[in-house]
């Protein structure tokens, strides 16, 4: 027992809890890219050796034609109806029976307009707009994901547009889908994605004077360390945890 360590009733207590140091917390973000180690601690705190494990990452792959089902029809119809198709589509991903069209962010409103109005597409309902922060996995880490539903043809398709934190701008689709209004406000509130042309892009779930965008992956959780018998339990993103 050294003098530098606090004591409680003669029992030595580590200054910081195991796992809260040695690389686990701030050195890589909370919910770090999976596949690095097992417990989230990278340094001397890991005596198991499992911290050195690296699992291979599966890259997102461009799907090849034919996509199957109605996806080919939708793809062809969009190509026919939208003149700037070749430039607007970045990638086509087919995964788990769902088709995702990655769209250039500046083109998203135009694409939505065609998706809604073309008689062969008729995606009347924008079911959902949500943001995802791919920190560390993508340079343009903020993704906006649009779920479109065609009630006429009973089809579903996903559009995805990626922007960077430095320039988080893309056109709003509220003129095409008024239902996107609050959902875009939520994406702005939570991720700081700015939808140009939105009628009133303000915070919706967090208080008006809130700072930061809480669902970004690098948003500090803060949290209050819980003290228990002299030791402190750090906030969730600084705890040792399975990756």
């Amino acid at each position: 027992m050294t003098d530098s360590k606090p004591t409680t009733g003669g029992v030595p207590i580590p200054v910081t809890p195991a796992g809260a140091t040695s690389g686990a917390p701030a050195e890589f973000p909370p919910a770090a890219p999976a596949g690095r180690g097992m417990f989230g601690n990278q340094g001397t705190g890991d005596v198991s050796g499992f911290g050195g494990l690296v699992r291979p990452q599966r890259a997102v792959e461009n799907a090849a034609r034919p996509y199957g089902g109605y996806f080919d029809e939708v793809y062809d119809a969009l190509e026919e109806a939208y003149p700037a198709f070749g430039e607007a589509i970045e990638q086509v991903v087919l995964d788990r029976g769902e088709l995702t069209l990655h769209i250039r962010p500046e083109r998203i409103a135009e694409v939505c307009q065609v998706m809604r109005d073309d008689p062969a597409l008729r995606f009347e309902l924008c079911a959902s707009v949500s943001g995802v922060d791919y920190l560390g996995a993508d340079e343009r880490r903020l993704h906006v994901v649009y779920q479109l539903t065609s009630m006429t043809y009973r089809r579903q398709i996903r559009l995805e547009a990626a922007v960077s934190v430095e320039d988080p701008h893309l056109p709003s689709v509220t003129a095409v889908y008024p239902t996107a209004d609050w959902q875009e406000r939520e994406a702005y509130d939570m991720f700081g994605i700015v939808f140009d042309g939105h009628p009133a892009l303000t915070r919706i779930l967090m208080p008006d004077d809130w700072e930061g965008h809480p669902q970004r992956k690098d948003y500090p959780l803060g949290g209050v360390p819980v003290e228990y018998k002299g030791a402190e339990i750090p906030p969730p993103d600084k705890r040792r945890s399975y990756q």
């Binding site: 079911a127 995802v132 579903q156 008024p178 609050w182 779930l205 990756q243």
Partner: protein, 441 residues
């Protein structure tokens, strides 16, 4: 205006502001110059009893006519989506069930379906588990619609229907307690199946409920359907046609009351709904009255579904066979309540070290979900409940987004309320059936 204990008045840069706390409408009216100040802005909520929780409505009034209405949400935001990112995939069930607290089974089922799709085990979910899910969801739909009927009745002045609606809902909550152990926040539907089997006494109780409920529905209709005040308050009130519904993203009974028979159970079936026989009730008026009729008819359809689900319940497992996903605990009722069965404890503690390791790993670490994203939409009592789930290959969700029907539908409130009377804001808002726990998440 002077000396009132209830209403105070002060001048601001944006005009005079009255703080009104009740019983003093005359004071406010006498304090306003009717020629120069035709419009007043009234804050309804966030603690107003008829706003279904903490919803704030900012109404600009001209006399009793609403000129502009804006809804302010977020008062019940609890960061559930963010919290999910720090728990493993199975623990997520206990969080999502708390979103829309009137429809917990739907939140859990949508989440479980999304996780199962990510895992690629959708087809491995056993028939019994799917049947139990349908059974529970339809019971939950009835209880949710009953709360809608009860609260809407109360807000429009029909107090007795409030008592009756909550009485029958309590019956369903008792059934839920028998099956899941809890009245609300069940965490019963889990990725891979359901947490435990339905006990026999619950089947008996559900059968009793099926006998009782049609009579009670008749009572509700006798109370309300011919009632002149009810008709006055609901007919041609807060009208929204199909075009407005679709462009504003409004789904569920509100869309069906306008005439479009869009029900995900029929149009994009899940959990085997395509094998059940039921109708999708619609109406053409698109008003509060139509929504009332559609919801009552939906309760009847749900009763049909519950009966069919009961009839096709066959013995079998309620969780996927894959032991890398299925929760290892074999639950049983002991002397101190429900917990791991004694046989399971004896096995992991006394006989099989591997079982103990497996149990420990699956409970503390959880299973890994291959990277990717999915979207699953189901028909909740309020409309399309969608889950957008993203995995990065780890043991915890990377991102889960709920497309909450309460959140999306509330956008339609200005379209319903503007130009109408202030009393119809209550009727229109109630007919959307927003649950703020779900809206704000």
């Amino acid at each position: 205006m002077t000396g009132s204990n209830y209403a105070t008045e002060r001048d601001t840069t944006e005009g005079r502001v009255f703080t009104v706390t009740g019983g003093d409408w005359d004071d406010v009216v006498s304090g306003v110059d009717p020629i120069n100040e035709g419009r007043i802005v009234v804050n309804m909520g966030p603690q107003h009893p008829s706003t279904h929780g903490v919803l704030r409505l900012v109404l600009e009034l001209e006399g009793e006519t609403v000129r502009e209405a804006r809804s302010v949400v977020g008062y019940l935001h609890t960061g559930i989506e963010k919290n999910l990112e720090y728990r493993n995939w199975v623990q997520g069930s206990t969080f999502v069930t708390r979103m829309d607290y009137l429809a917990p089974i739907f939140n859990e089922t949508a989440y479980s379906l999304a996780v199962e799709k990510l895992l690629g085990i959708t087809d491995d979910v056993t028939e019994r588990a799917n049947t139990i899910r349908v059974l529970m969801m339809e019971l939950n739909r009835i209880s949710s619609h009953l709360v809608w009927l009860a609260t809407t009745g109360m807000e429009l002045g029909a107090i007795s229907i409030m008592l009756y609606g909550f009485r029958e809902r309590e019956y369903i909550l008792e059934i839920f307690e028998l099956i899941t152990g809890l009245r609300m926040n069940h965490a019963y539907v889990r990725p891979g199946g359901v947490a435990q089997d339905v006990p026999d006494e619950a089947i008996v109780k559900i059968r009793d409920f099926l006998k009782l409920m049609p009579k009670r529905l008749k009572e509700y209709e006798d109370l309300l359907s011919g009632q002149p005040i009810w008709l006055e308050r609901t007919r041609n009130v807060a009208v929204l046609d199909v075009t407005a519904c679709v462009s504003l993203g409004v789904t569920g009974p509100v869309l069906r009351s306008a005439g479009l028979a869009w029900d995900l159970r029929k149009t994009m079936p899940y959990c085997g709904y395509e094998t059940y026989e039921f109708d999708v009730p619609t109406h053409t008026d698109g008003d509060v009255w139509g929504r009332y009729l559609v919801r009552l008819a939906e309760i009847r359809e749900s009763l049909k579904l519950v009966e069919q689900a009961l009839d096709r319940l066959r013995p079998g497992p309620v969780m996927v066979a894959d032991k890398k996903i299925a929760w290892p605990a074999q639950l049983a009722i002991g002397v101190d309540g429900m917990g791991n069965s004694l046989e399971h404890v004896a096995k992991i503690m006394g006989q099989s070290m591997e079982s103990l390791i497996h149990h420990f790993k699956l409970v503390t670490e959880g299973f890994r979900v291959p990277p990717g994203q999915v979207y699953v939409g189901i028909e909740a009592p309020r409309g399309e409940l969608g889950v957008h789930a993203v995995s990065d290959g780890g043991t915890r969700p990377y991102r889960v987004h709920y497309r909450e029907p309460s959140f999306v539908n509330l956008q339609a409130l200005p379209a319903m309320a503007e130009g109408g009377l202030i009393a119809d804001v209550i009727a229109g808002g109630a007919s959307l059936d927003p649950v703020m726990g779900g809206c704000d998440r």
